[in-house]
Amino acid sequence: MKTSARPRWRATGPGPGLGAGMLFLLPAAALFAVFILVPLVQAIGYSFFTWQGAHRIGFAALSNYTALFTKRPYTDEVMPALGHNLLLFAGAMVFQNSVGLVVAALLHRFNRLRRMFQTLYTLPYLVSPIVIGYLWSLLLSPLFGPVNNLLKQVGLGDLAHPWLGDPKTAIWMIALITSWQWLGFPILLFGAAMGGIAPELDEAASIDGATGRQRFFHITLPLLTPAIGTIAILTFIGAMESFPIPFAIGGSTGNPAGSTDVMSLLFYRTAFESGSGGYIGVASAIATLLFLFIFGVALVARRLMDRVERGLVR
């Protein structure tokens, strides 16, 4: 309790004080600045220069950016890769977050079993995505893969398919595999959000004769809007940054036939595997655009969410 008898604390407030506080802050600030902030700014700077190997040879203005939309191979690669990222986002919203919401709602009815199921569903999250990618490429392999063999054994041999070898199905498989790995995440978050809803609301509606379905759609779901927004934003960032699973399945070129190419693979290829000079400038242009896109969308979405949340309170 603060009383006027102790004016000295009022002046300094709690905490270590300005001088000591800056010392406390220093190690984290130094690490963060040297390895994150400065490189991020530099990466944007790189995109405005012409590069010869690892050397800056001149100011390029926007030519690295225009190259992305006028020069081969970039013109053939940028839009499909971006499209695949957006498809992965859509896939995750359907296969991962919607399913996760339903599972979380079902789990909410159980007291004792809930923790166990949550733990089970969260297990794949722990496994390295590169392991997940390789594991599924074995499971889905056309000849020896258990999935196709199983289909044949139960008489559904017609459905057996080179899932990852067919450009039409490969990217969808990646969406499914990613959702399989991350399912525990929406289940836990939605579960936590549902735990925060006052049970009285539900009870009152129940007494008024609302069915379980009505209660879910008219009470639970609207109150989950903040959680849905958080999860959508995090899923968006994750889908835009998707790298290890596509790499494990399609290599750095997005096999088969570029059908699993995504932006981070394109960036990686341009920066570290391309033989042509000037690649650092173009790679940095990709990075900058991607950065603006991810950060911009996340920021706008967050603003929108805050507005919706305020609407909820009112």
């Binding site: 690490l31 990466a43 940095s284």
Partner: protein, 298 residues
């Protein structure tokens, strides 16, 4: 929104999932059984691939074709010793442990120090610092890899674990500060005042009074940061060039490229790469769930 998630995370660290408010929701017995069956089915879908991975690492390629879901009746451990030796997993695991442990400890230590003034001090400097750190939660940091590469290269730290350790330590700071600061805020300010009356300076107040009280949050941060660092693939593939410095995910690409047609051995390699984290999960489920619910899973 962030605040909401933070409060949930903070409340969750102790009890993971707070006991549900007593009441069991009504539902017909048949409905409940049907729902449980669906939940079990989904659990099977979640676990089956991992079980097949372990089971098939113990079977021959022949058996896999004949019985896709067969069990390893006469387990064949040969694939493991072969994978262990040819895959250099001993080296990779050693590198992964070294890099992960040191970087997580470093980032947790730095974040603890920074979280204290950020949570408590009222000067504007610390408010600015907090928003800068927390913006790191949304930044696609991997896009800064080219400057990071050149910087580490000029310091001679490519293929050196220290380079990765520093990068991971920096990457862990936003999440760690986010969780730790929300924990410091829950401690009563009177504790600090009491320590000050007793003549303790800022450092002793922090070390002897506050630190013991935020221990549960430290556990959450350490365990939860462990997972993405251990599993990371992007920074190693760029920053590690020499096979002796590879971590498990990167070493696995080499191994898998060479042995993917040998199914038992490939499955054995994947299992070896997975075991350390499953062990971690078994001892620290609580912290991992708390970290995930803190909303910053990636």
């Amino acid at each position: 929104m962030t605040a909401l998630v933070a409060e949930q995370a903070a409340g969750r660290v102790d009890g993971v999932v707070r006991g549900r408010r007593g009441r069991q929701r009504r539902g017909s017995l048949g409905g409940r059984i049907g729902i449980q069956a669906m939940l079990w089915l989904y659990a099977a879908y979640t676990l089956m691939p991992l079980l097949i991975m372990v089971s098939d690492s113990l079977r021959t390629q022949q058996q896999m074709v004949m019985q896709p879901l067969g069990l390893p009746t006469s387990p064949n451990w040969g694939a493991y010793s072969q994978a262990w030796i040819e895959g250099h997993f001993g080296t990779y695991i050693r590198n992964s442990i070294y890099i992960t442990v040191v970087s997580v400890l470093l980032s947790t230590a730095c974040s603890l120090l920074a979280a204290y003034p950020i949570a408590r001090a009222r000067q504007w400097l610390f408010k600015v610092a907090e928003s800068v750190f927390l913006s790191g939660l949304m930044l696609p940091v991997y896009l800064a890899i080219l400057p990071i590469f050149f910087m580490l290269d000029s310091w001679g730290l490519i293929s050196n674990p220290i380079g990765l350790i520093l990068v991971y330590a920096a990457l862990g700071i936003p999440f760690s500060i986010f969780v730790l600061a929300s924990f410091f805020r829950q401690l009563p300010e009177e504790l600090e005042e009491a320590a000050r009356i007793d003549g303790a300076g800022p450092w002793r107040t922090f070390w002897h009074v506050l630190l013991p009280l935020v221990r549960p949050a430290i556990a959450t941060v350490v365990v939860f940061r462990f997972v993405p660092v251990w599993n990371d693939f992007f920074f190693p593939i760029v920053l590690l060039r020499n096979r002796d410095s590879f971590t498990i995910p990167l070493g696995l690409t080499q191994f898998f490229g060479e042995h993917q047609s040998n199914f038992p051995m490939a499955f054995a390699g994947l299992t070896i790469a997975t075991i350390p984290l499953v062990l971690l999960f078994l001892v620290a489920t609580k912290q991992i769930v708390a970290g995930l619910t803190a909303g910053m899973g990636k």
